[in-house]
Amino acid sequence: MSMQRLTLWAAAAWNMIRSLATDDAYDKYLAHHAHAHAGSPPMSRRAFYLQQQQCKWTGVSRCC
């Protein structure tokens, strides 16, 4: 495997792990906000995180 492909592969794996951990949720939100609500200021990282948590734990999100 060439070095370039290895780097690409590693980058994809790293993105996957970040996604699984929801580390990239704020980046995704910013990207969405930039084209869907262009002009209005987006939430801060902290406000977004707190809102995510509130939303996640309002319904049934864990089983037995």
Binding site: L20, F48, Q53, W57, G59, V60, C63
Partner: protein, 687 residues
């Protein structure tokens, strides 16, 4: 051609492995037989049955835009890669249930439980999860209760709500009891579990204030601290004064869990619940992988017989015959109604294409079922005598070590006091007798595999790692469940008095949380004072409630299939539904009317009442007897109520189905209208 030959080979190997575990009657059998059988069954189930159900029964349409695409808001509706959704969904459905159920069901031998995990999983649980996930995706991520109301009517909706609330209460009580039993008189386990709370709070503050939203690094720091807490527990255990501080009886531990549950449910989620959930998710994924790796590396021998004499209902861990109790006990590893709640919540809002439903719904449950198989292996690789000594309550086998050993040996499962003392010493515990609840015996099993695969001298560390691992996500389920119960109760109370429905109004929060905690706290407390261990009462009740919830979910699915003109396919959900209806009804019948006091609630209550009246009970038992008598009668009422709820929903589903088949008016299809996936993509590109 080559593909056909390959799948023929998988089928042949699978049949050979199942045949092997079914007819083998030697001293021991290698766990690889079970592993190979499981891999073949899951592969065939996924490749053929799930593909057929997705294509023919559900008519999955990859060109139809999912709610994540149509309603994309960058927050909860976000189209996400299927492997990521798979990870989130699996983390959400996998809890302590599939670890505990098989451990308890191992009293029947390894065979009955394993077969039901495989068959029930592939034909029941996986189908339920996938179908509900699909139906909810088609309905913009509506909850099971909402779907029941929309598609069947208000009766079904109300029953689903009541069923969910009841199962939540019983589930939390039984899980609380498992943690209490694992910590009882174990300074090491207690101090480690206590330490997880400040660690979670620390990570909560880190993720909110120091590095907002950097979950990965926060979790890694937390995991390092948790591992340190496991080692630190060992130091506490070897320190004479500190040791006594954490050497606690069941009752104070129960009060601790109750107080903890209340506080955790009213605190903001970012402080305790969310960070601990991140930690438990990483631990869970890591430990499951490690366990799978260790089982395959070590290929341990199974010492439990295929089938024990306890299939006749005389088992020491819980009373009741193979049918129906193996199906009630395994619960989550084969089919879990709880999953229907998760499948109709967060997950549908993340799915980017309907075609992913098969992998996410069916696939995640398959993996969960595989976890249950591993728990079964971990429980059955112990010497049966040791397994029964750990899991049998003193009320059943005798209060002293000598009495317990004599009773268990007389069943044909030899074990000695020295053997148990040696094992306890190796695990860093003062005793392993009567450590009911499943967690300690699972931890001994896991510690044996882990230490033989990754470090022989670390048995005690592995044991307490396993206990910590179970406790961390039991506590997550405990306060997540209390919170859900609180929301449901607030919603119900808002019909009586409007302000109660405000989810952030503190008086309402405190009252509703207090009521939910009092509900499960009551059952937990009774379980702790019960000399028969409490698990033998609570786990079957939980199993009945969980299978009942699955029944309600399958009713919704079957009703929708029939309404959509798919009568000829309705057996796909209808057959598991019929089986669950039979199993839960039979189990409830036994639990209520059986004259065996170890099975029947009423027989136990009457028996105890007679002894109390005759004055033959020792003083300590006489003091708690009135509570136990009341509780057994309450449990009987509860079990009957649960089964009535199920039959009401079944009747409602049949009513709607008959009307649909006859062409009479029924509640309209609540699917969101069809939008072509390409139109969304084009408009997104244009923007």
């Amino acid at each position: 051609m080559i593909r056909k030959a390959f799948w023929m080979l998988v089928a042949l190997v699978g049949a050979f492995a199942i045949g092997g575990i079914a007819i083998h009657r030697g001293e021991t059998i290698n766990a690889m037989w079970i592993v190979v059988a499981a891999i073949c069954v899951y592969s065939l189930g996924y490749r053929f049955y799930s593909a057929w159900v997705a294509a023919k029964v559900l008519s999955v349409d990859p060109t139809r835009a999912t709610p994540a695409l149509r309603l994309n808001n960058g927050r909860d509706f976000v189209p996400t890669h299927r492997w990521i959704v798979f990870g989130h969904h699996f983390a959400a459905i996998a809890g302590p249930g599939p670890l505990i159920g098989p451990t308890l069901a191992a009293q029947f031998g390894y065979l009955p439980g394993t077969l039901w995990i495989l068959v029930g999983g592939v034909l029941g649980g996986c189908v339920q999860d996938m179908t509900i996930l699909f139906l909810s995706t088609r309905r913009n991520g509506r909850s099971l209760g909402q779907m029941a109301r929309d598609e069947l009517g208000p009766v079904g909706g109300f029953a689903a709500m009541l069923g969910t609330l009841t199962i939540m209460i019983i589930l939390i009580a039984v899980l609380g009891l498992v943690v209490v039993n694992a910590m009882k008189h174990s300074p090491w386990a207690t101090s480690t579990v206590f330490a997880t709370i400040p660690i979670a709070v620390l990570i909560g503050v880190y993720l909110r204030n120091i590095r907002p939203g950097r979950v990965l690094e926060g979790s890694l720091i937390g995991l390092a601290l948790l591992l340190f807490a496991v080692v630190g527990g060992g130091w506490v255990d070897s320190h004479p004064a500190l040791r006594e501080l954490f050497n606690l009886e069941g009752k104070p531990l129960a009060w601790f869990v109750i107080g903890y549950g209340f506080i955790a449910a009213v605190l903001p989620v970012w402080l305790l619940l969310a960070p601990r959930d991140y930690l438990s998710t990483f631990l869970k994924l890591g430990t499951v992988l490690l366990l799978a790796l260790a089982v395959i590396l070590m290929r341990p021998e199974i010492h439990m017989p295929a089938v024990t004499q306890f299939i006749d209902g005389t088992g020491p861990i819980f009373g009741g015959a193979l049918f129906p109790f193996v199906f009630i006990t395994i619960a989550c590893g084969a089919i879990s109604g709880f999953h229907a709640l998760v499948s109709s919540g967060t997950t549908p809002k993340l799915i980017g294409n309907e075609a992913d439903v098969r992998m996410i719904g069916y696939g995640s449950m398959m993996l969960e079922s595989a976890v249950a198989v591993m728990a079964m292996i971990a429980a059955t690789l112990l010497q049966p005598g040791v397994y029964f000594a750990i899991n049998s309550a003193p009320g059943v086998v005798g209060a002293t070590a000598e009495a317990a050993v004599a009773t268990i040996t007389s069943w044909g499962f030899p074990v000695t006091v020295e053997q148990m003392q040696f094992l306890a010493k190796e695990m860093g515990e003062s005793t392993l007798f009567a450590r009911t609840g499943g967690a300690p015996s699972l931890a001994v099993g896991m510690a044996s595999i882990f230490s033989s695969a990754f470090g022989e001298s670390m048995l005690a560390i592995w044991y307490h790692f396993a206990i910590m691992f179970e406790a961390v996500f039991i506590l997550t389920t405990l306060d997540a469940g209390t919170r859900v119960g609180r929301f449901m109760l607030q919603d119900a109370l808002s019909h009586v008095w409007k302000p109660m429905g405000e989810t952030s109004w503190y008086p309402s929060v405190l009252i509703a949380s207090g009521l939910v905690v009092a509900g499960w706290g009551y059952f937990l407390y009774i379980g702790v004072v019960d000399p028969n261990g409490g698990i033998n009462i609570l786990w079957p009740l939980f199993g009945i409630a969980n299978q009942l919830l699955a029944g309600i979910a399958l009713c919704v699915a079957t009703g929708i299939l029939i309404k959509q003109g798919k009568l000829r396919y309705c057996w796909v959900t209808g057959a598991p539904l019929a089986w669950l209806a039979i199993v839960t009804t039979a189990a409830t019948w036994e639990k209520v009317v059986s004259s065996d006091p170890r099975v029947g609630f009423l027989a136990a209550a009457d028996g105890l009442a007679a002894k109390l009246a005759a004055g033959t009970l020792p003083e300590a038992q006489a003091a708690v007897a009135p509570q136990l008598i009341f509780n057994q009668r309450l449990d009987a009422v509860l079990a009957v109520l649960l089964v009535l709820i199920l039959w009401v929903v079944i009747a409602d589903m049949l009513r709607v189905s008959v009307r649909a088949v006859r062409g009479q008016p029924v509640p309209p299809n609540s699917e969101a209208p069809h939008v072509d996936i390409n139109s969304i993509k084009i408009s997104a590109e244009a923007a």
